[in-house]
């Protein structure tokens, strides 16, 4: 399917494509819910104590969740420098929006309680909401474009032709891409509401459960539309790939439906896991579609995952380090979730506006 090049093909190249998919899935599974919680702040948080309950559900873990993105970016740089170079320079403005959002939200969590003024808090809460909405929407639009394949053309450089994105910024907003963006927003909001339901007691718990159920049904509808468009419009060429994207697409819809049902019945834990599984399935379908061409349609220039890949030697070093350290990272991240496993109640939040210091 792809031209055989005079490059040392390494079996580690496909492995790293899979590992990078795993990093992105980890990012969306985890940061998906904390994006969602922050997006829901103005809707589910009726007063400041409500919002504090919500922010504190993700407080100890959001920073660690975000590192999944930084690691995914770093891994793309190391394992597929060509991919990293073409994608990051070609999607400059969308990535700028993502960065802008991430800066706003990162600061807002840390600073919202550092000054006893409601104006101050409202400002930072709004920043958290906008800062979570922007990356969610842009990444949804972006990944839909990878399913479709972003057009590439050659650009002469010092070292020969570089594959360069030729699709314009506005050209990224196709109907399918917009559905992708909406899907990410709705799905992550449902995931976030599910997390708040799982982590709280009392009124907040009930409100979050209802929201998770409602949003879950909405997400199911959008997911169904997305999966249909995906498979009807952009079905991958290979027969196995084609079968897989259909099966996984349908599975993703089913997972969201069952998640919504369970949210309605107060089965918070299972509902949350199923929603996460739906995100995993959705992302997996996209990466299956991106297999080989890594999300691009090159015209007049050679570009695929083999060309974009690092050397077997670099990949070997990366593979060894990752097999030692990724289990360790998973272990302590899981431990941190375990330490903060208890539910939070609004009553337990001091009404005193000055927060406990570090």
């Amino acid at each position: 399917m792809f031209p055989v090049l005079e490059i040392a093909h390494s079996p580690l190249t496909p492995l790293w494509f899979i590992l990078i998919s795993v990093l992105w899935i980890g990012f969306f599974f985890l940061e998906g819910f904390d994006f969602g919680v922050a997006m829901l702040l103005p809707f589910m948080g009726k007063d400041d104590r409500d919002r504090r309950v919500m922010v504190n559900t993700i407080g100890p873990v959001w920073d660690g969740n975000e590192v999944w993105l930084i690691t995914a970016g770093g891994a793309m740089f190391a394992a597929f420098p060509g991919w990293y170079a073409t994608m990051f320079s070609g999607l400059y403005l969308p990535l700028l929006l993502v960065l802008f959002g991430l800066i706003l939200r990162g600061v807002s969590f840390e600073y919202r309680s550092k000054h006893p003024s409601s104006q101050w808090r409202t400002t930072f809460d709004a920043m958290a909401t906008i800062g979570s909405f922007l990356p969610t929407l842009v990444l949804g639009v972006g990944f839909a474009n990878f399913v479709r394949g972003i057009a590439l053309g050659p650009s002469p450089t010092l070292n020969g032709d570089a594959p360069l994105v030729t699709t314009s910024f506005w050209g990224l907003f196709t109907p399918f891409a917009l559905v992708g963006g909406i899907l990410f927003v709705v799905l992550f909001c449902a995931h976030g509401a599910g997390f708040v339901a799982l982590k709280t007691t009392g009124h907040m718990h009930q409100r979050a459960g209802r929201t998770a159920s409602t949003l879950g049904w909405a997400a199911a509808v959008v997911m169904a539309a997305w999966a249909l468009m995906f498979n009807l419009m952009y079905a991958p060429a290979g027969s196995l790939q084609h079968t897989l994207t259909w099966v996984i697409g349908i599975l993703a819809v089913l997972l969201v439906v069952v998640g919504a049902l369970l949210s309605g019945r107060g089965r918070d834990g299972l509902a949350f896991v199923l929603n996460g599984a739906a995100i995993t399935a959705m992302m997996a379908a996209m990466f299956i579609k991106m297999w080989g061409n890594i999300g691009f349609r090159p015209v007049g220039v050679d570009f695929d995952m083999w060309i974009a890949s690092s050397t077997p030697y670099t990949l070997k070093i990366m593979t060894i380090s990752t097999s030692i350290f990724l289990p360790l990272v998973l272990a302590y991240q899981i431990w941190s979730y375990w330490v903060f496993r208890k539910r939070i109640s609004k009553e337990a939040i001091p009404s005193d506006i000055a927060p406990a210091s570090a």
Binding site: P81, K114, V165, T314, S321, F325, S357
Partner: protein, 504 residues
């Protein structure tokens, strides 16, 4: 203005800004861990108060370090895609490992530390701060290995088939002499900043509490306790500053020699030496093209020691080096050799770049002055540490004076800005190369990104960073003035249903 120039400004602005937070993060995390250790050992509330006080300042600073760091990672791909494509096989690995080994560790354990005060056993909670601090150091190791490779590209060669630089020896990144010199210099520089910060803040609070009285003259028990705590913290910070200052001198001396070996042009530029010389210029005012000297203070022979370890020996001047390099559009180390990558890429480089007329020397005035400002600021900081220690000798305490407050604000800024100027020197002194002797900066920029786009993002970052700076400084100021926090709390016998610590 072309995209390359704006992209360079963007990298400079975002990096210098990011690096205002990094040294504090690296060293203050460890100092907080040490304070917490002393509290753990002694159960003295004073140390717990200091832990929480400086812990809070650390967190305010940490937040901005994190959010500005992600911009740095993305920038390589966004603005410097041809750099990323060309060296990603080598440069990407340390960056990815930094995220995997360091960032996960820092971010997870800082979360556990902030929220874990009443959730974790005391020792486990303390370990969280140590792991955070170790994470920041691991991060420094990888990022400096990557940067040192740009200064001295070892362990790689050019592959004409893939048309890029490829890694041949990963270990070489960490045995790179430039890396070995830089890591110690940078860690010491970070500890100078944190030490100065702790000492200056504690000294100010001490002057406020004691107002020039001797500790034995204070009658109020609370005041006595507070004065003791701040006195101890001042001395602690001052010692950290002075010991790190010694580290700076020793590692800086070593670094000068390594730099002369690997990047002779950078050393010549730091001296503004156009011809071969052995004199160290403390201050030269004149035309910087070297033709006329208006006024100069020089130490004869000293440059030979700084550059070669031998008093009176000479280093090559800018013109000498330029003549050698211009010859074939090549780049050579002091002993005339090249790294494998430099020599294997030389042919391609010559045919492609010579016609573009790349200037072969860095900006001389910038190199000359940043080098001197770095050294001067660092020396003043060490001196300030000594003065504070002498001031506190015997039972004496400082008085509360307006001028003293101003001076105390300046003290941590000295080593902090010394860091900034040191980095400006290191990076500007490497020019015109993004990878010394291999890739010229102008051919590393993203070919498809317009000057307007880079300008737009530069303005966006600058405005956003400016606003954040105001918020950060405001918060830092507020928590700094607040003084020691109240730690009157129930002992660890917590009710099972007690809430988590709420930091947010």
């Amino acid at each position: 203005m072309d995209a390359q120039l704006i992209a360079r400004w963007q990298f400079g602005i975002t990096t210098v800004y990011h690096f205002l937070f990094v040294p504090i993060t690296i060293a203050l995390s460890m100092l907080v861990a040490v304070l917490q250790t002393i509290w753990y050992k002694t159960s003295n509330d004073g140390y717990l108060k200091l832990t929480k006080f400086f812990g809070n300042l650390f967190l305010i600073n940490f937040a901005l370090g994190v959010v500005t760091g992600i911009v740095q990672e993305f920038q390589f791909g966004m603005n410097w895609s041809e750099y990323s494509r060309f060296v990603g096989d080598i440069f990407g690995a340390p960056l990815a490992l930094e995220a995997l080994l360091a960032f996960f560790m820092e971010s997870t354990f800082i979360g556990l530390w902030i929220f874990g005060w009443d959730k974790l056993p005391k020792l486990a909670h303390l370990a969280c701060m140590y792991l955070t601090a170790i994470g920041t150091m691991v991060s420094a190791v990888f990022i400096l290995a990557a940067n040192s490779w740009m200064q001295n590209p070892v362990g790689a060669k050019y592959n004409p088939v893939t048309r890029r630089a490829e890694l041949t020896d990963f270990g070489a990144l960490f045995t790179n002499p430039v890396f070995k010199a830089t890591i110690f210099h940078q860690l010491a520089a970070s500890y100078m900043v944190a030490g100065a910060l702790v000492a200056a803040i504690a000294f100010w609070h001490l002057s406020r509490v004691a107002r020039g009285r001797r500790t034995s003259q204070l009658s109020d028990a609370v005041e006595v306790e507070e004065a003791r705590t701040w006195r101890w913290a001042t001395k602690f910070g001052a010692w950290v500053l002075i010991i790190a200052g010694l580290g700076i001198v020793v590692s800086g001396d070593y670094q000068g020699k390594v730099m002369t070996d690997a990047q002779p042009m950078k050393m010549a530029a730091a001296e503004g030496a156009y011809q071969e010389t052995s004199d160290f210029s403390i201050l030269t005012i004149g035309t910087l093209d070297g033709s006329e000297e208006v006024f100069a203070i020089k130490v004869p022979g000293m440059l030979g020691y700084l550059g070669n370890g031998k008093w009176g020996s000479t280093i090559k001047g800018i013109d000498d080096l330029k003549n050698v390099n211009l010859n074939q559009y090549t780049y050579r180390r002091k002993d005339g050799t090249q790294t494998e990558l430099q020599s294997s890429y030389q042919q391609v480089l010559r045919s492609h770049v010579a016609k573009d007329g790349v200037k072969l020397e860095p900006n001389i005035p910038v190199s000359y002055w940043t080098f001197r400002i770095m050294i001067t600021l660092g020396m003043i900081a060490i001196l300030a540490g000594l003065v504070m220690l002498v001031w506190l000798a015997k039972d004496r305490n400082p008085g509360h004076r307006r001028w003293l407050s101003v001076v105390l604000v300046l003290i941590p800024l000295m080593p902090l800005f010394a860091n900034s100027f040191g980095w400006i020197f290191t990076e500007m002194g490497r020019q015109p190369w993004i990878v010394a002797g291999v890739l010229p900066t102008l051919s590393a920029v993203s070919p498809g990104v317009s000057a307007g786009t880079v300008l737009f993002s530069t303005i966006l970052y600058t405005v956003l960073y400016g606003v954040l700076a105001v918020v950060e400084v405001g918060l830092f100021w507020k928590y700094m003035k607040k003084g020691l926090p109240d730690v009157a709390q129930a002992d660890s016998d917590q009710d099972e249903d007690a809430p988590l610590s709420y930091a947010y």
